[in-house]
Symmetry: C2
Subunit: 326 residues, 2 copies
């Protein structure tokens, strides 16, 4: 049983706990919030869980892992403290705001013999393995990955407040929140790109509402689209010398159909669990229980490529966060 | 009856003649080809048509208009001669390779009191009027227009020959051949952009096989995708403050459905003729028969915006044609 703590009391934490408990390998033991009442309220349904508002007390608990789902800009400092306390850190995407932060966290994780894992759920999907093996005897000619969904926080933004998800202080925006899935799809399938760029529709604080980008792989290029002020219904596509693989999405992929140039098509065998957080949860369990360093290293390489791309795209687009190095 | 001549004996000329004749307002009178035999063969099915291999003789015929469907790089010189001969020029898209060529052709057309018309068929579609009036009380937040189709000439290209459509001498490539439709969709609906860019997968001769681009309108941006070495099945989308308008295509639009944020949707009334060249043909007839200068001027403005965008995109991507000014 993995005894775990949770930082952040939003919907996503709730869903992670439910998913973790459904595996019967995770047990929620501690909940942290700056407001004790909020932590208590959040912990209440779970017999095993204690509530904390004292950060040091929370970190001193007998926990194997801590799941961090606070606003983006807080991930780095919290993950650092968690790793230094000798606990595995499972950090919601985007894990950091800058590649240097990732490098430092990885160094600290290594020194403390714990894992740093990013809850970027799509990279854990078995669908990418099916797609990858299907594509093995194809020449890749390009791809388009997108994730754009009208945010539930848009009314607040339009009313003049600045929700965390659109805040430069909290490292918000479409690229960080949803574009990261498109980048993970690309990096999971094709590895790191040679060059990236991003063109964003921006708020006065430079945070992006939506944007178009590309990853240049030399012999092919991948287009991405991310949006939080609009919804796209478009599918995702991977182009090869033999035809086009159409995916229903770049995250929680449930359908993949290959259309040959002659018009014929075949469906790939994709078996996705209905809970889109289950596969990442099972991977975290596997890595922690088995100490699977090889898998962790492979995930780390993807994270490094994704966070470098996120940062480079932000630089091209001129998206600046309060936490950015001057 | 509009007596017209044709330059170019490809499939597209054949289809234009059939469409023109179906209106009973056009009569094919002359066919030009550098090889007389080819012109004769092409003209044979049409009682009214004479074949020419002598350029001056062809231009001296009693013709109202000449339809030019030669390789892209030849359009400009041929259109110039046609206009100087006092005939309306209907030029296949892309009409020119450079905005300066367009400016000169427009000046010559004006001096000779004839029309210069681009056969960019989607800008003549009534669908855009329906879409435009539907969008009138919406705030535009962005759009995606794409046209990517595996070319019938790809096997030749892969076999080592260089078909015109991939030749820098003939001003070929995905952007010029298919991207032009995406640009026309954007310009027809939203006018000229403030800034454009394009990122291309290129042949050694710099001609693009596919590419991602954007048009920046200040308050929103439009992404485009064009491809000739791959096929995209994706729909096209226009994003507004109220939801997303999904189009089955950006050319020969047959279906347009608006999805509101609440999940409800409505179909726009789109009545497209099955022949995708009919609407442009009817517009050419209207302009020529009625001397509709206002409509011609409005089309000219679109053409200027599209050709400026095509050229600017080529400069960003580094796509160079033999005809480019040094």
């Amino acid at each position: 049983m993995i005894r775990f703590g949770v930082i952040g009391s939003s919907f996503i934490s709730q869903k992670f706990i439910e998913t973790a408990h459904s595996t019967q390998k995770f047990q929620l033991s501690a909940v942290f919030s700056r407001q004790l009442e909020r932590a208590q309220e959040f912990a209440a349904p779970f017999q095993s869980a204690q509530a904390f508002a004292d950060w040091q007390e929370f970190l001193a608990q007998d926990l194997d892992a801590i799941y961090i789902a606070s606003p983006n800009a807080l991930h780095y400092e919290q993950a650092k403290a968690v790793l230094l306390a000798g606990k595995h850190a499972i950090v919601e995407k985007p894990m950091v705001c800058h590649p240097d932060q990732l490098a430092e966290l990885l160094r600290i994780a290594k020194e403390n013999k714990v894992f740093l894992l990013e809850a970027a759920r799509n990279t854990y999907e078995a669908a990418f393995e099916s797609i990858g093996s299907f594509l093995r005897n194809h020449t890749i000619l390009g791809a388009q990955f997108s994730y754009a969904k009208y945010s539930s926080k848009m009314p607040e933004l339009l009313a003049g407040t600045k929700p965390n998800i659109f805040s430069e202080k909290m490292a918000g925006g479409a690229l960080m929140d949803l574009g990261v899935y498109a980048l993970y799809a690309s990096v999971t399938l094709f590895g790191p790109a040679q060059k990236v760029a991003y063109q964003a529709q921006q708020l006065p604080n430079t945070v992006d509402l939506n944007g178009f980008g590309y990853l240049d792989y030399g012999h092919f290029q991948v287009g991405i689209f991310a949006g939080k002020n609009l919804t796209s219904t478009l599918a995702n596509e991977i182009y090869t010398d033999k035809g086009t693989l159409v995916l229903d999405s770049c995250q929680h992929i449930q359908k993949a159909t290959f259309y040959y140039h002659d018009g014929s098509h075949i469906d790939l065998d994709i078996q996705a669990p209905s809970n889109n957080m289950l596969e990442e949860c099972l991977s975290f369990i596997h890595i922690i229980e088995n100490g699977d360093q090889a898998l962790a290293d492979s995930l780390t390489q993807r994270a490094e490529a994704v966070h470098q791309a996120l940062y480079d795209m932000r630089q091209v687009a001129g998206i600046h966060f309060s936490s950015d190095p001057i």
